[in-house]
């Protein structure tokens, strides 16, 4: 049986970690490579880098971060943000990343999923979906451009299309839950997990260990991702994993 995964997410801009980082035992808490290595030592199962650089220079810097990270950590890692072409994927995978996350570009051009999967294998292609409940529809809508634009596409249909085009995983962020620390969006996560057969990574809303337990059991998630609560040490990865293990969740 596969273990449920705990995934810290690092927002990186121009080669620096931006979202609140509060580590006292690091020489340079803004260094994504050092932070990724720390999470590896703490038992994180995977790392996600979200590149929020706006410039080409910033993206070029990210390649260097990927190269260094690949030499420093012994767990898989995913890189997302601003990837819109197969050539972008190739550069990042060549630099040593294990998976590529695509979001807006996949919605605008779903063929990118198919092309990436054919070229590099499904296991490399993570489709990130930002979803928000649309009360008029009574279900969730996909948003693009960092959550700024409604796409008019139903999330449950989109994840199925992503899977049929060869996505290897869905990284699902609930815009309703994100930032609340009230727990993951269980109905959304459960519905998406039931709609596809590929693994679903739940994101948005984590505030306490219970939230992780619930998203793995009730939410049927295969992995759970969080940023701030890990960066600010509100929850330490080793404590979280111990807690989940003691409650019978399969954990590495």
């Amino acid at each position: 049986m596969l273990a449920k995964r705990i995934i810290p997410c690092l927002d990186v801009k121009d080669g620096r970690v931006v979202k609140g980082v509060n580590f006292v035992n690091l020489r340079d808490a803004g260094d994504p490579v050092e932070l990724a290595a720390l999470y590896d030592r703490e038992g994180a199962d995977e790392i996600v880098f979200l590149d929020i650089s706006a410039s080409n220079e910033g993206r070029a810097t990210m390649i260097e971060v990927v190269r260094q990270t690949a030499g420093e950590i012994a767990i898989p890692f995913t890189v997302g943000g601003g990837i819109s072409q197969v050539d972008d994927m190739k550069r990042i995978l060549r630099a040593g990343a294990d998976k590529i996350g695509i979001n807006t570009a996949a919605v605008l051009n779903p063929q990118l999923i198919s092309d990436g999967a054919r070229r590099f294998g499904s296991q490399c292609i993570v489709v990130a979906v930002d979803a928000k409940f649309n009360p008029e529809w009574g279900e969730w809508e996909v948003y693009t451009h960092g959550g700024r634009k409604a796409s008019g596409i139903k999330a449950l249909e989109w994840v199925k299309e992503a899977e049929s085009r060869g996505a290897g995983e869905i990284l699902l962020t609930s815009m309703d839950a994100d930032g609340t620390k009230d727990g993951f969006d269980l109905p959304l996560t459960r519905e998406v997990s039931r709609s596809v057969t590929i693994p679903v990574i739940a994101s948005g809303g984590a505030g306490k260990p219970d939230d992780f337990y619930e998203v793995f059991t009730e939410g049927l998630a295969d992995a759970a991702l969080a940023a701030t609560i890990f960066h600010y040490k509100e929850i330490a990865v080793p404590d979280l994993k111990r807690d989940l293990k003691s409650r019978g969740v399969e954990i590495r």
């Binding site: 012994a74 294998g121 590929i198």
Partner: protein, 226 residues
């Protein structure tokens, strides 16, 4: 101490060589015959399709080099697809002959249709590819490759798995609906279906044990020559 990581144009070898270096050895990514034959240990990595990989190996003559190194007693470690290549054949995209260093063959996880790698799917409740952290069960804990290590989770990504002909070649399995070949070993030829370089502490421990075997073989080889 040099470990040759065979570069035959399949996949990213950076992580493997870095892991070898972190453990204090020189990791040389190379497609050069002399470098491979002169190394203390050889790692055969691999991602992608079996047939393509064998074609690349044959086209560059590296299949012969790897066989020669193995015959000379140099410790050889196949990783992921590299492990599958050690065996006689695979049914991936039709039948393909492997290196034939170990008897057995690679088959697709039950029910999955060949050629559907990019599509994935669930067969009998199991997702294909088998991807993620799964737990090793040691069948031969006394084997030097497993010495001093405890059973734990390692990171798998694969759609085909190996059925070895000889039980005694099977060092560890993992459970994915049925026991799945995870580590094989016979003489100086070893294979790991998962990615030790992506498998945290346990993965590094397994690599360290392999490197120790290479070191020992090197010392014994020198003694013979001396």
């Amino acid at each position: 101490m040099t470990i040759a990581i065979v570069d035959y144009g399949m996949g990213n070898l950076h992580s493997v060589s870095k892991a070898v270096e972190r453990l204090g050895f020189e990791g040389l990514v190379t497609g050069d015959a002399d470098a491979i034959l002169g190394a203390d240990g050889v790692v055969l990595p691999g991602v992608g399709a079996f047939g393509d990989a064998m074609e690349h190996l044959r086209a560059s003559g590296l299949d012969g080099m790897v066989r020669q190194a193995a015959a000379a007693g140099v410790p050889l470690l196949g990783i992921c697809l590299g492990m599958q290549l050690l065996f006689g054949e695979s049914e991936e995209h039709g039948r393909n002959a492997g290196l034939g260093l170990l008897p057995g063959r690679a088959v697709r996880f039950a029910g999955g249709s060949a050629g559907a790698d990019a599509e994935g799917g669930v067969r009998g409740g199991l997702k294909v590819p088998h991807m993620g952290w799964n737990r090793l069960e040691f069948l031969q804990p006394d084997n030097p490759l497993l010495a001093g290590l405890e059973e734990g989770h390692v990171y798998f990504v694969h759609s085909y798995h190996v059925l070895p002909e000889r039980k005694e070649d099977l060092l560890a399995v993992t459970d994915y609906g049925h026991p799945v070949t995870a580590i094989v070993g016979r003489g100086n030829v070893y294979g790991m279906q998962f990615h030790p370089e992506k498998s945290g502490e346990l993965g590094m421990g397994l690599l360290r044990n392999f490197l120790a075997l290479a070191e020992r073989a090197g010392v014994e080889g020198d003694r013979r020559l001396g």
